[in-house]
């Protein structure tokens, strides 16, 4: 074959070989089809473990009850708020009690209004929750000044 044909051919083969060699180093060993389907299961297997190792932040009421038994028991008794998770207002428990500052307690009016702002919707769970009209009830005051969130039946004087 003529030189002007061979030269680009060798170049193309060289580039291809370089790609194949680079691929050998760059593609992880566990990359491949890990499951029944090439379309849906073509991936790096160790990534599954990486997602499993993602840090958990919300630890649940039982974790809180280990130390704060009295508060949790009181909350459970209060009926109205017994289903509200501690961490909804107190923040995620991960890192507590090692780092006390890690728990930002949300006592804002907006936090209570999430459920207790009155939305007059027929046949909706929201209308079952006792609600207030924001602009007509103790404007701009924090609800916790009068109401005890751990036992909403009790009013603070």
């Amino acid at each position: 074959m003529k030189w002007h044909v061979l030269r680009p051919l060798w170049l193309a083969i060289g580039v291809l070989a370089a790609i194949l060699v680079a691929r050998q180093f760059l593609v992880p060993d566990d990359f491949g089809v890990h499951g029944p389907s090439f379309t849906y299961n073509y991936h790096r297997l160790s990534n599954v473990q990486e997602w499993k190792d993602f840090p958990v932040k919300y630890l649940g009421r039982e974790y809180c009850a280990d130390c704060h038994r009295r508060n949790v028991r009181r909350l459970n008794r209060s009926s109205a708020h017994s289903k509200v998770e501690c961490e909804n207002c107190h923040g995620p428990g991960a890192g507590h009690p090692e780092e006390i500052t890690a728990l930002p307690i949300n006592t804002s009016r907006e936090q209570c209004l999430r459920c207790h702002a009155l939305l007059d919707y027929p046949e909706n769970g929201r209308s079952v929750v006792p609600g207030i009209v924001d602009r007509m009830h103790m404007r701009r005051r924090d609800c916790v000044e009068c109401h005890n969130p751990h036992d909403p039946r009790e009013e603070r004087k």
Partner: protein, 256 residues
């Protein structure tokens, strides 16, 4: 062509042996053995949303963003809550401010006052990744960065994703978004790090009204699986053929 008797016999026996030998390499499995070899674990995660119970407090969105390190003030979220208000004149008003992160406190919808007397029905619909059996988002990924695990959850490999955004376009439910910090595609994965440890997803744990629940469809004794199998549940955009695995109780025809 000539063939001696000795040669004929030799070749016939040799040929028969050679053709049967590879067959012995195959193992005959009972159906049970075959099934055990195919699925590694007896888990298929699914989700049940009860739109009758959701009150639109948005605590699930807050919990999800915190748990999964999604930037809190960015307008992206792995799960969100939509409010639908259908008025008596047949109009549907829909909003989801910041994905419902701060709850629905105002009765105005997109600044529009709606007369409570005129409301025919109103409800909240939480949305999240459907962990489809035929995920369109996985099919379009050009690099194999997103995939389905053996328990049905679709995950994204943050090391491998090139951020091309094909999957964000492909998802018919719009659950995928571009993560502003990691610069890759991101979406709900049912809190894979929690469900594989036996904990409920953060949104399920933080829901005070049991509107969100997680189920293992392979476990017939799972109470939530029983609801999915025996009660009248619906899925979103069934006609797309993606086989979504988030089931809705009380889903309205207005929900898209």
């Amino acid at each position: 062509m000539t063939c001696s008797r000795r040669q004929f016999l030799k070749e016939a026996v040799g040929g028969t042996l050679a053709s049967t030998l590879p067959l012995s390499a195959f193992v005959f499995l009972s159906p049970a053995e075959a099934k055990a070899a195919v699925d590694e674990a007896k888990v298929r995660w699914a989700f049940l949303v009860d739109t009758n119970k959701c009150t639109g407090c948005g605590l699930c969105v807050t919990a999800c963003k915190t748990e999964n390190e999604v930037p809190f003030d960015s307008p992206v979220t792995r799960t969100w809550v939509e409010r639908y208000v259908v008025t008596k004149d047949g109009e549907t008003h829909i909003d989801s401010p910041l994905g419902g992160r701060d709850g629905f406190i105002d009765d105005k919808i997109r600044g529009e006052e709606i007369d409570p007397e005129n409301i025919a029905k109103a409800f909240f619909v939480p949305k999240l990744c459907n962990q489809c059996d035929n995920p369109a988002c996985v099919q379009v990924c050009p690099v194999g960065a997103t995939y389905q695990t053996h328990d049905g959850v679709v995950l994204i490999d943050r090391e491998w994703c090139i951020g091309c955004g094909y999957c964000i376009m492909a998802c018919p439910y719009g659950v995928r978004f571009f993560h502003p910090e990691h610069k890759v595609a991101d979406k709900c994965n049912f809190c894979y790090h929690r469900i594989t440890k036996g904990m409920p997803p953060a949104c399920v744990e933080c829901c005070s009204f049991d509107a969100r629940r997680i189920a293992n469809l392979e476990d017939p004794d799972d109470p939530v699986t029983k609801i999915i199998l025996t009660e009248r549940v619906a899925v979103l955009k069934d006609e797309y053929g993606t086989k979504p695995h988030v089931f809705y109780l009380g889903l309205d025809a207005n929900v898209r």
